[in-house]
């Protein structure tokens, strides 16, 4: 353990962590933090539901947790259950098999709730629109507050998107 601590100081891993932060993200992030502070008393929790994406969207959402973006420092976190989430973040073209599970998650999320659609397929099915197994996204099934486009949207798009959602009200 002592070696590890020594290594941390010797290699300046912690100070590198500050260098990681992209200027662009920092600005967006700080503004985002103000919004979250004001509306949700400094904590905004999101439940992610994948309804048939290609998993690229999930990788980008997971990337929000890495030291470059570190979304949690702004008070936004991903939670394990819809029961204590403020927003549902939905990816994928909504496969028939996932419809019931998604609706259950929606019912279980307490009001008031936000619906965030992430990725090109999430709103209208995108490339999978014509498939027998997809129901053409969530656009006409749930009240979507925000659609973050991209295939997949980059982490910076996701952060800007969240800012937009919170500045609307």
């Amino acid at each position: 353990m002592i070696d590890l601590v020594k290594m941390r100081f010797r290699d300046k891993l912690l100070s590198e962590k500050l260098e990681f932060r992209d200027e662009n993200i920092e600005v967006l992030g700080l503004e985002l933090k103000k919004r979250v502070d004001k509306i949700f008393k400094r904590s905004f929790s999101i439940r992610e539901v994948d309804t048939g994406s290609c998993n690229a969207c999930e990788i980008e959402i997971n990337a929000l947790a890495n030291p470059y973006y570190n979304l949690e420092r702004f008070g936004i976190s991903f939670v394990p259950s819809p029961k204590f989430a403020d927003a549902l973040m939905i990816t994928g073209a909504l496969s028939k098999n996932m419809y019931k599970a998604l609706m259950n998650a929606y019912e279980l999320t307490p009001n008031p709730k936000f619906i965030i659609a992430v990725g090109d397929c999430a709103m209208d099915g995108g490339d999978f629109k014509d498939s027998y197994a997809c129901m053409g996204g969530i656009g006409d099934k749930l009240p979507v507050d925000l659609w973050i486009k991209g295939c997949p949207p980059e982490p910076i798009d996701l952060i800007s998107g969240l800012l937009k959602l919170l500045s609307k009200r």
Binding site: G52, S53, N55, A63, Y68, P80, K96, A101
Partner: protein, 508 residues
Amino acid sequence: MKEIFDSIHYFCDEFSEDGNFVTIKTKQLKSLSLYLFRDLDCDLSSVVALRAKDGFNIKYLYSYPKKDYFFIVCQNIQDEFESFADDIPALNWFEREISDLFGIIPLNHPDFRALPLHPENYPIGFHPMQNDKIKDENYGTYEYKDVKSEGVYTVPVGPIHAGVIEPGHFRFAMSGEPILQLEIRHFWKHRGIEKLCEGKEVDEVLNISQKISGDNALSHALSFAMAIEKICDIKVPSFAQYCRVIAAELERISCNLSDFAGVFQDAGYSFGASGITALKEDIMRLMKLLSGNRFFKDFVIIGGVSKNIKPYTKEIIDIIKQVNITFDKYKKIMENSSSILERLETTGKIKKQTVKDLSCVGFTASASGRFSDFRKTHPYLIYSKLDFETLVLSDGDVSARVRVKLNDIKNSFKIIKICTNYISQVDKPKLKVKYEIKDGEEFGYAQSNRGNIVHFVKIEDKKVVRFKPRDPSFMNWQSIQFAVLGDVIGDFPLVNKSLNLSYAGNDL
């Protein structure tokens, strides 16, 4: 090989050789299949069903690991066929998938339940790949194989999981702490890709192939492109081939790093996890610089590559060097920490026989003592010219899988170094060649970080009439049911992460 061909001649009615593909037609299908699978120790690589003039045509693709040969065994059937899943367990899911999509029945199948089309959501008589009308419009239910006994309880998990991951259903039968049985139910994300691609243009299918499994976007595009290039006799310029290899290796590093971080995370060591995710971000930013997309989407095109990466050789070398240095430090931490190793060792053991029976691919097989890497056994692009050593371990536990992956990352660093050296010396880089789409059918394959991807493509009148992708996860998913036996449920995330399976690629 002559001896083997002679033995095959003994079984077969028709025999034809085309490059490294050997097509066999026979009436003694079962004996031949068993000869290939057991005696020759072949892996089952893919099974493709096609609509034929009268009835259906089924192609079984076996890959021969000792030499660069593939065997395609064909049979023509009406509306039912004999199941071999009892003798070749790897066929189990393939036969159930064919039965769901085409409505043809595998006789004497050991586990004849619906697979991709959940009976709760699709009418029983609905078979998308068969163009008939729906015969039976009733819905059914899915029978789980729960263990019922005193003191045994069931823990159902999913389809929506706690983390930001894809959906899948797991049912643990527990007796006290240890797991007695794990049953997995997948295909929640079934998007009907096979049917969707019927009758589409080649470029449209290339686009969809990148969305089969997002993290392997490039490898999927590569196997599709190589299938088309084989059909149309396109010779890809050698500069483009080197670019493709660099891209494929960067993707491999990115995915393997993400696994490495996941293992740290699930072993409860977040310091390591966050450090490695930062390295992954470095690689993804490099990918964005090279191709304009963080996943190398639209980088591989038919006949070559879309972007010239020669101007960025210096950046590639610098970033890889930097990542390599930091990576070594984290690797050292893992190797020297008894508390992390204690979590990894003896957890999630998969036996060599299981790997053989299920025809597992990639690091799952290599970590259990069965070598599987198409870059070595069936070299494509320029891999036969490259010198790298792949690791085979016999432990079969999480630790072995992690070590195989870490060795893979090292190999990728080495390969990228060789390839960047080559492309920096090319004076007039040629990125792509012109081509014309021809009719025909071929298999294309590429090695992703998870294992080999095999695509079957058939083209008629310049349109894709049949596209059957086979993601490595489809071969490996069943192995998790054996890996967790006897472990505690708390180790499941670690085992799952060490196998790193794609739900999207499996569900199609």
